[in-house]
Symmetry: D2
Subunit: 311 residues, 4 copies
C-alpha cells in the first residue's frame, strides 16, 4: 500500500471541481480521476462515489427513529452496525471505478454479481498489445499443501526462463491477432489488398494474460464482501493487489467504517460450535488441547486452531 497517489493517466480527464449540495467525503475527493497503477499495465481509478461515514449514520438513524436517541456517539453507532451485520445502511454508499486488469483476473472479479459493470468490447474494438508478465520473484512452484496456491519461488534463472517463454508465446499470439485482423493496434490495414477476419473471431487466440478494462460499480456492503474474499491471503496475488488498493481507497473514503470493518470483519474470525465449546472449557480449565478431538474438531481444524491462538 506504499504507492502514493500518482500522476494523471494519459487518458484521464482533467480534474475539474464544481459545487454540489451532496455529501462530500473529503478524503475521497483526492482520489477522483486519479489513476493508481496496479501490476505491470493495470490501473484503478475512482470515477465517482456517493456517501460517506456520516450518510451511513443518517440512514441508520432514520430507521431507528426516536428509538435510538441513546446512542449519541457516531463512532460507537457505526461500530455497532458493523458488529451486528446491520448491512442496509452501508448499501447507501456507492463507488464507481475504472479498472484495467488481465482477463484471468477479470474472470475472478465478475464472480461478484451484485455490481454493475461495462467492459471494453473486443467485438467492437481492437485490443491493445498489452499482456501481464509477473515480476520474477512472484513466480513460484505449485504449493504442496494448498491445492490452489503457490509454494517456493523459482530461482532467478528459472524465473527468467519462464518469463521468456510466456512472453514469446504472448507476442506470437498478438502477432497472429494483427495478422488475422490485417490491422495494427490503431486499426490501420497492414495489407490494403485483403480484408481482415472479424474482430470477434480474431481475438480467440489471445492469451488470458491480455489486459482488458471496465467500469465497475458496487455499493459499500458488496465492496466489503469483495474485500473479505479478495484481500485475503488465499486470494490469487494478481487480484489481491487490486483489492488492497481498493481497501486503501476505502480507508480514505469512510475511515471510521474501514476501522470497524477491520476489527469486526477482516481481522475477526469465526469459531465453529465445536471451537466455541473448546474455548469455553479451556478458559474454565476443564479441558486441555489434548482433548480437542473429543469436541468434534478434525485434525486439520485442530492444527488451524493452534495456529490461530498460538497454543
Amino acid at each position: 500500500m506504499s504507492d502514493k497517489p500518482l500522476p494523471q493517466h494519459p487518458d484521464a480527464p482533467t480534474r475539474e471541481s464544481a459545487t454540489t449540495f451532496r455529501p462530500v467525503a473529503e478524503g475521497m475527493e483526492g482520489h477522483v480521476n486519479v489513476y493508481h497503477p496496479v501490476l505491470d499495465h493495470g490501473f484503478i481509478a475512482v470515477k465517482d462515489y456517493m456517501g460517506d461515514d456520516v450518510s451511513i449514520l443518517q440512514m441508520a438513524r432514520m430507521s431507528y427513529g426516536k428509538g435510538t436517541k441513546g446512542v449519541s456517539d457516531d463512532r460507537a453507532l457505526l461500530r455497532y452496525l458493523m458488529r451486528h451485520l446491520h448491512t442496509s445502511p452501508f448499501e447507501g454508499c456507492v463507488i464507481k471505478l475504472h479498472v484495467k486488469l488481465p482477463i484471468f483476473v477479470m474472470r475472478q472479479w465478475v464472480r461478484h454479481r451484485t455490481a454493475s459493470l461495462n467492459e471494453y468490447s473486443a467485438r467492437y474494438s481492437i485490443l491493445p498489445d498489452e499482456f501481464y508478465m509477473p515480476e520474477p520473484h512472484l513466480l513460484a512452484v505449485q504449493s504442496k499443501d494448498n491445492k490452489q496456491g503457490r509454494g517456493d519461488s523459482l530461482t532467478a534463472e528459472q524465473a527468467a526462463e519462464v518469463l521468456r517463454i510466456l512472453k514469446e508465446d504472448a507476442q506470437r499470439n498478438f502477432s497472429t491477432y494483427h495478422n488475422l485482423l490485417n490491422a495494427d493496434e490503431d486499426g490501420n490495414a497492414i495489407d490494403e489488398d485483403r480484408d481482415g477476419i472479424a474482430r470477434e473471431l480474431a481475438r480467440i487466440g489471445l492469451p488470458l494474460s491480455t489486459y482488458t478494462q471496465m467500469y465497475w460499480q458496487t455499493n459499500l456492503h458488496n465492496l466489503m464482501h469483495f474485500l473479505r474474499l479478495r484481500a485475503d491471503p488465499h486470494a490469487q496475488y494478481e487480484i489481491r493487489v487490486y483489492a488492497e488498493k481498493m481497501l486503501a481507497i476505502m480507508a480514505d473514503w469512510v475511515p471510521v467504517t474501514t476501522e470497524a470493518f477491520r476489527d469486526y470483519q477482516l481481522e475477526a474470525g469465526r469459531l465453529s460450535r465445536m471451537e466455541l465449546g473448546l474455548v469455553r472449557d479451556l478458559l474454565a480449565g476443564k479441558a486441555s488441547m489434548a482433548d480437542a478431538e473429543r469436541y468434534g474438531l478434525t485434525k486439520r481444524e485442530i492444527r488451524e486452531f493452534k495456529d490461530r491462538f498460538g497454543c
Copy 2:
C-alpha cells in the same frame, strides 16, 4: 407534475454546498434535500445522486473503445443505447431518495428487488399518528372491466361517508396502539403505574394506510423499470403519484436520457409477432382489419390494436 420545488421539510437538514471533483448534474442539484409533498402526509426527497447524461456516455464510449469514433453526436449515442436496450451504462447513475408513504404503497414498492432500502422500524420506535385518507374525488367504485382498477367516482355524499368511516376506524386503531403501548406519540407514559406491551406487538392492529418512511436507492436502469410499471395508468393511483414525481426529478437530472426513455420505452409499444404480421399486410394493402382474427389475435387483442392505432 405542476407542483414546483417546495419549502424545506421540517426534518430536512439545511442545504449546504461543498466543492467536489465528481460529475455534477446541474438540474439535479436543485432537488438535493428538497422535500416534495406527495399524497396527504407523504413526501419524496433526493438525498444523494451519482452520474449524469455525460457519465452514461463516458461508460458507453469506454466499452466501444476506438470502434465507435463514428458516433460523434452525444444525443444520438444516448438514444441509440436506449433504443437497443444497452442497459449497462445506465446502471452507472444512482439515486438515493427519502420517501414517506403509506404501508400499502410500500408493499407494492418493495416488489422491486434490485434496490437498497432502509425502513423506519416499528419494532424500535413508535409510529407517528399519520394515515392516508384519499381525496374525495379519488374514491371510486370497483371497475367492471379491470379486475384491479377503479371505475366511476362516488358522489360527494358517498365519498364523505366513506372517508368518515375510514377515518374513524384509523383513529380508533391508533388510539388502541397508544393504549397498548401506554405511551403517547413522543413516547411519554400515559399511566406511570403500568408497562406498555412491546412495540413489535402493539403495531399489529394499525391499518395498512399508516405512513412509514424509508431511504430507497436504485440505479437509473432499475429506476426506469420501476417507472415503466408504476408511472403506467394501470398502476394504483397512490403509487403512481410517487412515480410521476420521480419521473419529473429524472427529467431534471438526466434530460437527454429522459427524452429517449419516453420515446423508446415509456411511450413506445410492443407488437406481438401476430400484430407485426398484420401491420405489414395492412400497410401493403393485403389485409383489412376484418382479417385480424386470421392472424391469430384474440378478440381482446384486436380491440386493443384498434384503440392503439385508431382504426
Copy 3:
C-alpha cells in the same frame, strides 16, 4: 419442532406421484404438498424443490476437477464447503414454498431480496376475514434492555384484555372492509342496489395482522442466510416460528448440510480482532478478564464475551 407432518390443507392438491430422472431427496418427498400449520391461521408447505446433499457435492466436484481426488469422504467435503463459505454449490438447491402469514411478518420477510415471490393480490381479490391474534402467553411488555424486543409476559387478565381490544378493532376493520366493498367474503353483493368501492381502496383500513399468502422460492444459500437472521432469538417471534419450521424441513431435505450449517454457522460465533487477541492471551495465561478493556472491547462487548464463555 415437535409438530409432525399434518393432515392435508383443504386447498392442497392431492399428492400424486410420478417417475423422474432428477435427483430425489427422500426425506423431502414426505413434505411435498403437506401443509404445516404455523401461528393461528398460517401455514407453510413445500410445493417443489430441486437438489439434495449429493447434488451439492456433484457441483463442488465438477469445480475442483481432478484436483480434489483426495477428499473421498462426502460428509467431510460438505463440511469443508460450509466451513470455508464456498457458497456456490449450495445455490444449486432450490425450494418453493406456499406460505400463509400475517402482513407484518410478510413485511419483514420481503426484506430478503434474493428470492422469487408471488403474493395474493388484494387489488384483484377479496381478502378472507383472517387476522393474527397472539396466544395470551406471548403478550409481553416492551423489553427494557432490548429496544426491539419483549420483556415479561402479561398477567392472564391483562393478556385477555389486550386480545379483546385487538380482536374487536380487527373485526370492526373487516366489517368496514365488507361494507365499503359491498360484498361478503365470497364476493356476493350485500346490497344489490349499490356498487362497492374499488378493492384496492377498500383494503387500506385493514390491520397489519391480516393474513396474506404467497409462493416463495429461494436457493439453499439464501435460505441459510434467511435462517441465520430469522431463526435467531433476536428475530420477532412471529417470523421465527416460520423460520424454525423451515429449518426442520431443511433437516429432512439436506441432513448433512443442515448439520454442517448448525456447526459452522447457526451455532458458530464471530470473534472480533480484539476478542481473538484476548482469547489468545487468556489461553496463554498472559491476561485475565480484568484486562479486557485494554484490548479495546467495550463494556457491552465484555459482558457479552463473559456470557458466551461463562467466564
Copy 4:
C-alpha cells in the same frame, strides 16, 4: 436445432429413475443427464429442473385468488401473463445445466448476473488440452456495417490458412502450459527432478478459445431474458448455438410458455413513440413513408422500419 438427443457423454452418470411427488414435465425428463454436443468440444446437458407450464399457472392463480375465476383457459392465461410481462410466475421454474464452452463464450455468458454458477477451477486443476476451432465456413471478414459482426466468408484456402495458424498457436500455448506445470493432462510429472510452477500462474498464457465448463442455473424468467439477447441474430455465433439448443430444450420443457414467448417476445417487436405515430397515420392514410422523417425517425430508423414492414 436438427441435432437429436445424443448418446451419453462419457462423464455422464447413468440415467436412473425414481418416484417423486413433485410436478414432472414429461418432455423435459427426456433431457435429464443427456449430453447434447455444441461446437467442436462443447456440450449442454440438463442436470435438474423444477416446474412446468402447469406450475406457472398455479402460481398465477394463487395470486389472483377468486378474482380470476373467469379465465378458465390455461393456454389463454399463460399467454396473457407473457403478453403483459407478469414475470413472477415464470420465476417459479428453474433449470440447472452442465455446460462446456470456450472461455470467450463464457465471458459473454457471465454478464447475465441473475443466475447461479460454479465453474471448473484452473487454480485447483489442470485444464484439458481442448480449444475451439471454428468450422471453416464460419470464418468471415469483419462486417462493414455492423461494428461487432461478421461479413463475407473466407475462401476455402484462406480459411484453411487461418485455422492452421490458430491451431498452431493454441497447440504451442498448451505445450508451454504443460512445460510450465511440468505435468501432462493427467497430472503426471514430465520431469521427476523439478517442480512445476503454480497452476494459477501457468494458465495465464492459454488462449481465450480454451474450453472450460460450469454448472449454470437460472429461473425461466431470466432464461428468457438470456435467450432474447443470445438467440438473437446479433449475438456472436458461438454463444448463439448454445442459446438455440437451450430454446429447443425449453420447448420440450414448457411448450405452451415457449410458444407464447415466441409470439410475444422473441418474434415480437418494439415500436418507438415516433413509429407508433407513423403507423397510425399510415393506416389512416394520413401519411406516406416519404413523411417518415417528419415523425422524428432517424435515417437509420427509417431504413429499419422499411425492412421490418417491407414497405
